[in-house]
């Protein structure tokens, strides 16, 4: 038997105080949470926590904040269900429960020495923001950084101020696209894959990290394979129903993988056969 962990902290929600909450875009809120009592936290970019609202239930949410920050944890949540709606209506001073961190996170060590291409769709930018923070604070470890980010409409673009400041950096390019827009949008309209071709990606020395709807990740991965990138250099973050986050409830199964503990990040060659199948 492997080393068994009786990690009770991971089974019972710990109390966290809401320090701040603000609306990023319509229906999408960012929460800053502090452990109560105060302890330090640490997570790897791409990892998630189970967020609990007293009596309402629990949902898996990836950390969207800076991994350097050890006093608070930041999450960006879209109000889509009963628990996330409740999470988005908390106020500073309220208490929420947290279990975690869970999951494997993005391959930041493997990407060292490479260019990094970050591709996000919609809310998929939230679990990738810690990657960008890490890449910027360890810029000498990586080559150039490219962020390709697509949303449905211009008013659904997250973290606009940060996107602008990232784009000003010499070592980083930010490319935006939307599915549809009014006449006041001067940027690109279309899917993220259209931006790959002219982004100056060197397919041989680039590691890609993609997060968004499955269909977007599928087209992105094949778009990159078409320009010569190896499937093993493309990483995607999967989403499935999750109850325990400990590999026991069975709900997050994706073929042979448990998304909660084997994922949520997978190299595309690990999951390519599953991407081709409907309803897996």
């Amino acid at each position: 038997m492997s080393q068994a962990v009786h990690n009770e902290y991971l089974m019972y929600p710990a109390s966290f105080l809401v320090l701040e909450i603000w609306e990023e875009i319509s229906g999408c809120f960012t929460l800053t949470l502090q452990p109560d009592p105060v302890v330090t936290t640490s997570f790897a970019p791409g990892q998630f926590y189970m967020l609990y609202i007293f009596g309402h239930g629990e949902v898996p949410i990836s950390v969207s904040g800076d991994p350097v920050e050890t006093e608070t944890l930041t999450f960006t949540v879209l109000a889509v269900g009963s628990v996330t709606r409740k999470l988005c209506s908390v106020k500073a001073g309220d208490t929420v429960g947290l279990r975690g961190p869970f999951g494997n996170g993005w391959p930041l060590k493997l990407a060292k020495g490479h260019d990094v291409l970050v591709i996000a769709g919609g809310l998929g930018l939230a679990p990738l923001r810690p990657v960008i923070y890490h890449l910027i604070s360890h810029a000498s470890d990586y080559g150039k950084i490219t962020l390709i980010y697509g949303t449905r409409t211009p008013d659904m673009i997250l973290f606009q101020d940060e996107l602008a400041s990232w784009d000003e950096r010499d070592d980083m390019t930010v490319l935006l696209t939307v599915d549809s827009a009014g006449s006041d949008w001067y940027g690109h309209v279309g899917v993220v894959t259209e931006l790959i071709e002219n982004a100056g990606i060197d397919p041989v020395r680039t590691t890609t990290m993609a997060c968004g709807p499955e269909i977007m990740m599928r087209f992105t991965a094949y778009g990159l394979i078409d320009i010569g990138m190896a499937a093993s250099d493309i990483y995607v973050s999967m989403e499935r129903n999750m109850k325990c986050a400990l590999g026991h409830c069975g709900r997050c199964q994706y073929g042979p993988h448990f998304v909660c503990k084997d994922g949520p990040v997978f190299a595309f060659d690990q999951v390519e056969n599953l991407f081709r199948v409907r309803e897996v």
């Binding site: 990690n7 007293f54 001073g93 208490t95 073929g255 309803e279």
Partner: protein, 378 residues
């Protein structure tokens, strides 16, 4: 490997002594009882609680009890219950919480299970228990409920002397002979003159119990009779299925037409997952009282056949029933191997018997193997 321990004879009339010893040692004795027209696991107060003189007839979608023409204690095969009902209870409170100021305080629930002695565990079921051990205790996180219940659990196994029409343990190499993981194993022998058990300890705990029993040395004829019982079960095995390369075959048949046929047949009732001794998926529910002062978290058996099982915002990942059956079968026979290094099927046949429309796993496997449609390259 456990070194071989001596075999003994235990007279049928002394079987009650075994139960008494277990009770004296503080065990809650549970095993097969006749209830609601089926053989179900429940508390055994005395030998008379066993389904003496009963047997079962099983077919796809059919289960009937029948009287035997002898007084066998274990003359039947597995019923709808499995031992997971004790080791992985169908409903467990994980914790409760009370509102305190703007926050809450968690009261950890401590599972205080009785010390179980399982009487009459079959070879396939013992394999199922060991498979769930891997699921709940073999990884990074241990499930405290399963681990706590398993720790002191004593296993008195029984070799099958007959097989149901839905049995296929020989195909899964899990029986009918009990091979490991038991504390005591029994073979029930009834001939014209005698009714007795060949009894063997499989652990020190088991040996200490056997020592207290009025056993007599075993003769070669007894050993031959015990071997004949198992051979008889092997011969009666109602179903056979070729599991060679099953993982690879299924993995390249995600698009097989058979799944669409199952879509029409399967009711998605989840019976197979409830009856299956290895199915471990669960649901977690948070509830509160009306005043929202007290909250609880409950875990209950879940089934991959429900829409809710794979629900994420926007809908279920597996809206079609065919895809849910595929998930179940793929998991049992293919992905389970990746996850836990063992098949998730023990060949007990419960999913066949208890399917209300008689869907037969062995038939489905054969149909897919005989009509491969996927791209063989994967």
């Amino acid at each position: 490997m456990t070194p071989p321990r001596p075999l003994y004879r235990l007279d049928r009339n002394d079987f009650g002594i075994l139960l008494n010893i277990l009770k004296e040692k503080g065990y809650l004795t549970v095993g097969p009882t006749r209830r609601d027209g089926a053989i179900l696991y429940g508390a055994l107060e005395s030998v008379d609680d066993l389904p003496i003189g009963w047997t079962d007839e099983q077919e796809a979608g059919t289960y009937r009890l029948k009287c035997r023409d002898d007084d066998a204690l274990f003359g039947y095969n597995v019923g709808p219950h499995s031992w997971k009902k004790y080791l992985f209870p169908s409903k467990t409170k994980l914790w409760s919480a009370t509102k305190k100021g703007s926050g809450f305080e968690i009261d950890r629930e401590t599972d205080t299970p009785p010390k179980y002695a399982f009487i009459g565990v079959r070879a396939c079921e013992l394999h199922a228990i060991q498979i769930q051990d891997k699921v709940f205790m073999g990884g990074t996180y241990q499930d405290p409920v399963h681990a706590g219940r398993r720790r002191d659990c004593l296993i008195i196994a029984v070799n099958c002397a007959q097989a149901a029409n839905t049995c296929f343990c020989t195909s899964m190499q899990t029986g009918p002979k009990v091979d490991n993981g038991y504390d005591i194993v029994l073979t029930e022998i009834i001939d014209k003159a005698r009714h007795y058990f060949v009894i063997e300890a499989g652990s020190d705990r088991g040996a200490a119990i056997v020592k207290k029993l009025p056993v007599s040395p075993v003769q070669q004829t007894d050993m031959d009779a015990a071997a004949a019982c198992v051979e008889n079960a092997e011969k009666q095995m109602g179903r056979k299925v070729d599991m060679t390369d099953i993982k690879d075959i299924l993995t390249r048949n995600y698009d097989n037409k058979r799944w669409a046929e199952l879509e029409k047949k399967c009711l998605a009732c989840g019976n197979c997952t409830m009856a299956c001794p290895t199915c471990f998926c669960s649901n977690v529910e948070d509830i509160t009282d009306l005043g929202a002062e007290h909250a609880e978290r409950w875990r209950s058996w879940g089934s991959c056949f429900t829409m809710d099982f794979s629900y994420i915002h926007g809908g279920s990942v597996r809206p079609s029933i065919g895809s849910r059956y595929r998930q179940w079968l793929m998991h049992k026979l293919a992905t389970w191997l990746d996850q836990f290094g063992t098949s998730g099927c023990v060949g007990c046949g419960r999913c066949i018997t208890w399917c209300p429309v008689g869907i037969d796993l062995t038939e489905e496997v054969k149909a897919i193997c005989d009509n491969e449609e996927g791209d063989p390259s994967g």
